[in-house]
Structure formats: C-alpha cells, structure tokens
Symmetry: C2
Subunit: 221 residues, 2 copies
C-alpha cells in the first residue's frame, strides 16, 4: 500500500555515496513510515476494502488507499476525529445503520444490506472501505452478499465470513447469507449495467455505464 521502494535521487545513482544515502533513507523509512492497517483489514476486490473501526493511528495507512468513500454500517454517530480525517481527504461517508445486537430483524437487515450493496457496487464510489465496529458481522454480511451476487458458492461465502469472524461466527448471520436473494439486487439494477472490462489493459474492473436507451418500467420488485 505504501510505495514499494524509494528510488535513489538521480544525481546519486550508481555512486558509492548515493548507495549509502539511499540505504540510510530506506532504513529511516522503515522506522518513520511504518503503516498500521485497521484491525481485520483486507482487500475484497479491486477498489473494495474491509476492516474494523479505523483508529487515528490507522489514518496514514488509510491515506495510502486514496479512498473515495467509506461505507459505515453502525447506527452510532461517526467520531469527530474520524470525520475531520474524512474531510481533509475528501472522503464521503455513507452510513447504513445496522444494530450490532446478535438478532437483528431479518427484514430490516435485508433492506439495509440491499441499499448498501447498491452503493458498494457503484464504481463511482470506489475505492471504498466497508467497516463496522470489528469488521466481523455486519461487514461480513455485506461482503457475503456481494460474493453471492458474484455467484460464489455458499461454502466459499461461509469460509470467508468465518475467516474474519473467527470464534465470533454467528449462525444467524450465516442463515441470513444463505437466505439472501441476489435476484432482488439484479432486478434493481436493470437500468444500470455493470460489466467487467476486458483485459486489454491487463486490469479487471467494474465498468459503469448508464443505459439511456429505454428504462424498463418493471424495475421495482
């Protein structure tokens, strides 16, 4: 996430002094610029990251991700310190409040996750970080629904959920994931077509284009 290597200054290249200076800079770099990702941090897809609640010590790392948005899944207000960081980095906060208790209403959860998914797969919001408090349950449910939408088999969706939830895996979350119907989302998206770009540029990513031809009238489910 940080620059992989700090190149020597042009006038120093290939000289003994240049190498020594460079070594010193890199050594200093090792100590000064050490990066601390938020707890439970991981890359989900190109332009999509997940984690637990970011602390101020994680801000330099988050800065290196050049985020455009944060999807925040708790109902509690965002801390002022974090809001200040977001303002300074021009990152938009997209909040979808889901209660952290173990048995949220499935229908409320479904509706909220569906709204969050629509925002999540919109590449105009990327790069985006999804987080809740610990990056286990609410974040795990949203990522799990994304995986179902990507046609992952259920056992792989569960494996990924459990890898992040660890000992705290919840049977209710897994039942929710199993029952979540991605057709809901597909039908909501008929007027906006997302598709993967070819590998011309050796990069796979989501493309966004408006379908201006004619909007179907039966979009809402």
């Amino acid at each position: 996430m940080s620059a992989y290597i700090q190149p020597p200054l042009p006038e120093e290249r290939g000289t003994k002094r240049g190498m020594d200076q460079q070594k010193k800079r890199n050594m200093n770099n090792d100590h000064d610029d050490v990066l601390e990702p938020p707890t439970n941090f991981s890359m989900v897809e190109d332009g999509i990251f997940r984690s637990g609640f970011p602390q101020p010590s994680n801000f330099p790392f988050l800065q290196s991700l050049n985020l455009r948005s944060i999807i925040y899944l708790c109902p509690e207000p965002y801390p002022e310190e974090n809001l200040e960081f977001l303002r300074s980095q021009n990152i938009q906060l997209l909040q979808f409040g889901i209660e952290g208790k173990t048995e949220p209403s499935v229908s409320i959860l479904k509706d909220t996750i569906l709204e969050a998914l629509k925002v999540l797969i919109d590449v105009r919001n990327h790069p985006v970080l999804i987080h809740c408090k610990r990056g286990k349950h609410r974040t795990g449910c949203l990522v799990g629904c994304l995986r179902k939408f990507q046609n992952w088999c259920l056992s792989s969706v569960f494996e990924e959920y459990q890898r992040f939830a660890g000992m705290k895996s919840r049977a209710t979350d897994m039942r929710f994931l199993e029952g979540f119907d991605t057709l809901l989302l597909r039908q909501c998206l008929y007027s906006i077509i997302y598709q993967y770009q070819g590998y011309g540029s050796n990069k796979r990513r989501l493309l966004y284009r408006e379908d201006n031809l004619q909007k179907p009238q039966t979009m809402k489910v």
Copy 2:
C-alpha cells in the same frame, strides 16, 4: 470475479418479454455458473491473490481471474490436470519448493522466500496467484514478507498471517516473519524501480520501469 450482471440483449431491452427472458437467463446463470474459489482464497493486492491448492472444481473461478502466473511454494511436482489447465490458459508456473514440515531451515527459507518475493512484486507476472497446499504457512510467510516490504507494522502482519492459518498458526513462522530483513530485497532491487502510479485513472497499482541510466555495481548483498 464473475460478471456482476448479465445485461439484456439490445433488442430485448425495456420490453416485457425481454425482462422475462433476462430474468430467466439470470436465474439459470445463478445455477449454472456458480463459482467455487479455492480454499483459503483471498485478494492480497491489485493483481496478487492467495489460496490453498486449486482443485479442478476451482478452474472456472481461476479462469475469471485471468492469471498470468502462479507462484507455487511446494517441492512436489504439479499435478498433470493442473498443468493442463495452465497450458490451456497460458499461465506460467513459477515453482519455489519449500518443505511443508514445521521446522524448515531458516536460512533456506529466507533465500527461497527472497527469490519468490522478487518474482511476486514484478508486475510483469501479474495477475498472479500464490499458493501452497493449504494457503496457511508457506503462502502466509510469503505474503507476510510482502507486507513487511510494504512497511506494515508487525502486529498487522501477524494478524493477517493468523487469520489464514487459524488454529494452525506456527510460532516458527511468526519468528521467521519477525526476523525477515526487507533491506535484503530493497538492495536487490536498486536497478528496478517500482512505484505506485498516481490516481489519474483512479487506480493504484505498481509500475515497472527499467532504470537504464547506470546500474550500480554494489547491488548484491
């Protein structure tokens, strides 16, 4: 990893029949094209993936990653079925044999990991999948060294290692990660400068360019 949504055919767009056909195709799609990622699969960075040993049932998923190479960390020969898949997809196999026993020689491990790291960070090999047998120890060590090279703090390196190793975390691996000196790699790479591209294209990735000006003579450590 799969296409996010299958767009309606142009002549069908906006018609009732088109919507029905589309719904049918998507529903079929849900059943026919279900993707099975290899066990312990995850994205590490743009163009870098990790997993356990891929089985034939995982080939359709791997195909969707459009891999250019596979870094294979076991000494055992690659199965013929997997070789056949690699040939059909024009994927190169880069093998770095590390014994799977719990106490490999630290100096041999260090040298092999260093060689694998050089190949791993060379974007000409991306997209690349790293795998060993279970995607826990050998893969975890290589990814952990990459994280140190990216200046991640040690506790975050450990957290990621443990997330994939689970109950099978090895203290020897963690001591290896703690002791691994990324200066070795930096010094090997003075003539090849990797740096992150700016966000002009809203994508962060490694760039590769040869430094043709003058190669330092003191590259080897």
